[in-house]
C-alpha cells in the first residue's frame, strides 16, 4: 500500500437506529478478499469516510471474532455524522484501519471484569463484552453497568438482554433520576451511585470505564473504594484525529500520540498525562 | 470563439430570487405560458436581504456563467426593508468585484414583482442572450481549476 490515506471501499450492509440521534452501521469490504484477510483487535478504531463530507473516527464496535462484517456506531453531531445519518443499505463508504492499540483481552484473562458505560459510550465497550462472552471460560464474573439520561438514550438494548442470559454475567441498567418512564424496570440513579450500591465483588478485577468526563470523574472514586486500582482501570480517549497514523499532529495529549499509543489507556497512564482531552 | 461554438454554448445561469415577489413572478411567467430560456436555475430564498454574497461567489465556483439576483421592488418587501438593505450591500459588493477584476456583466440585479411574469420572461431571455454572447466565464473557472 503506497497511499496511507487511501480508504477501502465498504458496502453498507445494515443500518440500525438506536435512539433519536444514534445509529449503528454494519459494513463489509467490497472486495471479498480484503474482507477475508481483515483482522483487528477489540478496542481499535477506524477512519470512516463519507466521500464529499469527510472522515470521522469511530471505534470498531463489533467483536473481532465476527469475520463477515465490522460495525461502528455514531451520534449525529457534526458534518460527517450528519451525512452518515442519511446512509442506507447498499451505499458505499470508505474505511481505513484498524488503528491504535486495543483492550488487553489476554491480560484480562482470569480476571473479573466490570464494564461501565454512559450514553453513547456503549459501542466501544460492546466489542469487549462480546469478545469476553465469546471466550466466556477465560474470564471471571462480568458486571456491566450501563446508564443513560433516559431509557430512550440507551443503545444496543436488545443485546443487554442477551448478555444477561450468559452465565455469571450481571447487567445493571440505569437512567438518570427524572429520566425514568413508568415502564422502566432498571435502576434509577447516576452511574457512580448505582455502581456503589451494586455490591460488585472487586477482587482481581479489571474495569473499563467509558463515558462523559464528568461520569468518569465521579466513577473513579467509587472504583477506588471498591479496591480496583488505577492500573486496572481502562478508558478510551476520543481526541480529534485526522490521519490516524501519527502524522497530522492533532491528537497529541502531551507526549502521547493518541492514534498510535492510544486510544486505550489505564487511569495510571492518564494520571501521568496532561489533561489535553 | 467561432460562431458555431457560440451557438453550441449554453450558458449556466443561477438566479437567486426572493420567495415573495420574483419567485411568484417566475411562476406567473410559467402559468401564462410565457417562454424563457431554460438556462436559468432558480434558487428561492426568503428575501433578497438573505441573499448572501457568498452565494454569488459559490455559483461562480460551481461553474455558473452568470448570476441573477432579484426580489421585490423598493417599498414592497415582505419584511419591510430587506431589499433596501440588500441594495446597499450590492452597491458595495459590485464595487469590490470591480476592483477584483470580476466581470460585472456576469451579475445582474432586478426588481421583479409577483405580477411581472412578463418582465421576468423578458429579463431572463435578454440576459441569456447576453450570456451567450459573453461565452463561458473562463476567467473564474481558471481560478477554480
Amino acid at each position: 500500500m503506497s497511499n496511507i490515506y487511501m480508504p477501502d471501499l465498504m458496502e453498507v450492509v445494515e443500518v440500525k437506529q438506536h435512539t433519536a440521534d444514534v445509529k449503528s452501521v454494519k459494513i463489509k469490504f467490497k472486495d471479498p478478499e480484503k474482507q477475508a484477510k481483515f483482522s483487528f483487535r477489540v478496542g481499535q478504531f477506524g477512519m470512516y469516510s463519507l466521500f464529499g463530507e469527510g472522515e470521522s473516527t469511530f471505534n470498531i464496535c463489533s467483536s473481532s471474532n465476527w469475520k463477515d462484517h465490522i460495525e461502528f456506531c455514531f451520534r449525529k453531531t457534526g458534518k460527517v455524522t450528519d451525512a452518515l445519518w442519511r446512509v442506507d443499505e447498499g451505499d458505499t463508504i470508505g474505511f481505513r484501519g484498524p488503528y491504535g492499540n486495543s483492550y488487553p483481552m489476554e491480560a484480562w484473562e482470569g480476571k473479573n471484569l466490570v464494564f461501565i458505560g454512559g450514553g453513547i459510550a456503549m459501542p466501544p465497550i460492546r466489542c469487549a463484552i462480546w469478545y469476553a462472552l465469546e471466550n466466556r471460560a477465560k474470564y471471571g464474573d462480568i458486571t456491566i453497568v450501563y446508564g443513560a439520561r433516559t431509557p430512550r438514550d440507551l443503545v444496543f438494548t436488545d443485546e443487554l438482554e442477551k448478555w444477561a442470559e450468559y452465565d455469571r454475567v450481571r447487567v445493571i441498567q440505569c437512567v438518570d433520576p427524572g429520566g425514568e418512564t413508568p415502564e422502566w424496570k432498571g435502576e434509577v440513579g447516576l452511574i457512580p451511585n448505582v455502581l456503589a450500591a451494586a455490591n460488585v465483588p472487586a477482587g482481581n478485577t479489571a474495569a473499563l470505564v467509558i463515558g462523559p468526563p464528568i461520569m468518569i470523574k465521579f466513577t473513579l472514586p467509587v472504583l477506588d473504594r471498591m479496591g480496583v486500582l488505577a492500573p486496572d482501570i481502562y478508558t478510551s480517549l476520543e481526541n480529534r484525529m485526522k490521519c490516524g497514523v501519527g502524522k497530522c499532529g492533532r491528537c497529541n495529549c502531551g507526549p502521547v500520540y493518541v492514534c498510535k499509543e492510544g486510544p486505550i489507556f489505564t487511569m495510571e497512564q492518564l494520571n501521568a498525562l496532561p489533561a489535553d482531552f | 470563439m467561432s460562431e458555431t461554438e457560440k451557438t453550441a454554448f449554453e450558458p449556466k445561469i443561477v438566479a437567486y430570487v426572493c420567495n415573495w415577489c420574483t419567485y411568484l413572478g417566475a411562476d406567473l411567467a410559467g402559468t401564462n405560458r410565457l417562454e424563457y430560456p431554460s438556462n436559468v436555475r432558480i434558487v428561492r430564498l426568503p428575501c433578497t436581504g438573505r441573499i448572501d454574497f457568498n452565494l454569488i461567489i459559490k455559483a461562480f465556483e460551481m461553474g455558473a456563467d452568470m448570476v441573477v439576483v432579484s426580489g421585490c421592488h423598493p417599498g414592497d418587501c415582505h419584511y419591510t426593508a430587506g431589499n433596501y438593505h440588500a441594495r446597499r450591500r450590492w452597491t458595495l459588493f459590485r464595487d469590490l468585484l470591480e476592483t477584483m477584476g470580476i466581470d460585472l456583466n456576469r451579475i445582474h440585479f432586478a426588481w421583479i414583482s409577483a405580477a411581472e411574469g412578463k418582465k421576468f420572461a423578458e429579463f431572463i431571455t435578454e440576459i441569456t442572450d447576453k450570456a451567450r454572447q459573453l461565452g463561458p466565464y473562463q476567467a473564474y473557472r481558471e481560478i477554480c481549476e
Partner: protein, 281 residues
Amino acid sequence: MIEEIRQTCRTLLEAGTVNVVIAYGQSNPDGPVHPIFVTKPDDVEKIVWNKQCFANLTTYLTRKEVKSLGKAAILVKGCDARSLVVLVQESQVERSDVHVIGLACEGVGEPELAGKCRVCEVHMPVGVDVTIGSTEAAAPEGQNRYALVDEFMKKSPEERMAFWKQEFERCVRCYACRGVCPLCYCNQCIVDKNRPVVIDTSATLKGNFAWNITRAFHLAGRCVSCGECTRVCPAGIDLRMLNASLAQSAEKHFNYRAGMDPETPPVIGTYNAEDKENFIR
C-alpha cells in the same frame, strides 16, 4: 511624552480604576515593539511609545483571554480610535468599560512613514478619555485618500484579475489578517463553519479568492484602514487595496466613513429609501 503615558497608566492602576493597561512594550531594547498587558503599577516602565508602535491594540478588547483580566485601559492612536468607535457602534465594547488613552501621533514607521500615515487625518485621536501629547501634523492639503485605488482602477479588469491571482496565489490561509483585525471579532468565523462549507479551507486559488473576497466584504463600511492586515500578512498580500476600494465605495455612494462619528449609523446596518439603484433593473 512617554513619561506622561507611564504616569497616566500608573495612576490608573494604582487607583484601581483599571485592572490592566493594554499598551506597547519591548522585550529588549533592540527588539520589536509588541503589545503588552500591564497589570502592576511598577510595570508601566515597560511601556514604550515610538515609531514602531504599529499595532492596533483595540483588537484585544474583544478577546476572551484579555477580557478575563478585568477592566482595561488602552493606548490608541488616531487610527485605532476609529476602530474603537466601530466596536462600540456594533455593541462589542461598552464604551464606559474601557479607559481610552489617546496618543498624539505623527505617524509610525521608520525610516519610511507607513503608507496610511502619509494620508492620515486623525493625528489627534477623537472620542478618547484623555489625550497625551500634541501634534501640529495635519492631513496633506487636497489629498486624495483613495489615490492608490484610483491608480489601480486604471488597469483593465483582466489586469486587475491577474494581479489578484498573483497575490492570492501566495495566501497560505494563516488567518493572520483575521487575527489582527479588531473588527474580525466573530465567535466563529464563517470559514471555520463546516455545515455547510461556505468557503473552501484549502489554500488553492479558488479557496483563497473566496476567503479574501469574503473577509474584505465582511469589512465593507466597517474597515477603518488601520492597515494591520496588510502589515502582518506573511505573504505580503496587498489587502489594503480591497479595503480601500470598499471604503471609497461607501464614501462615494453613501457619504459614509467608518469610525469617524459614533452617532452616524453604520452604513450596512441601515438604509435610505432614496439610495441610488442605477444598476438594478
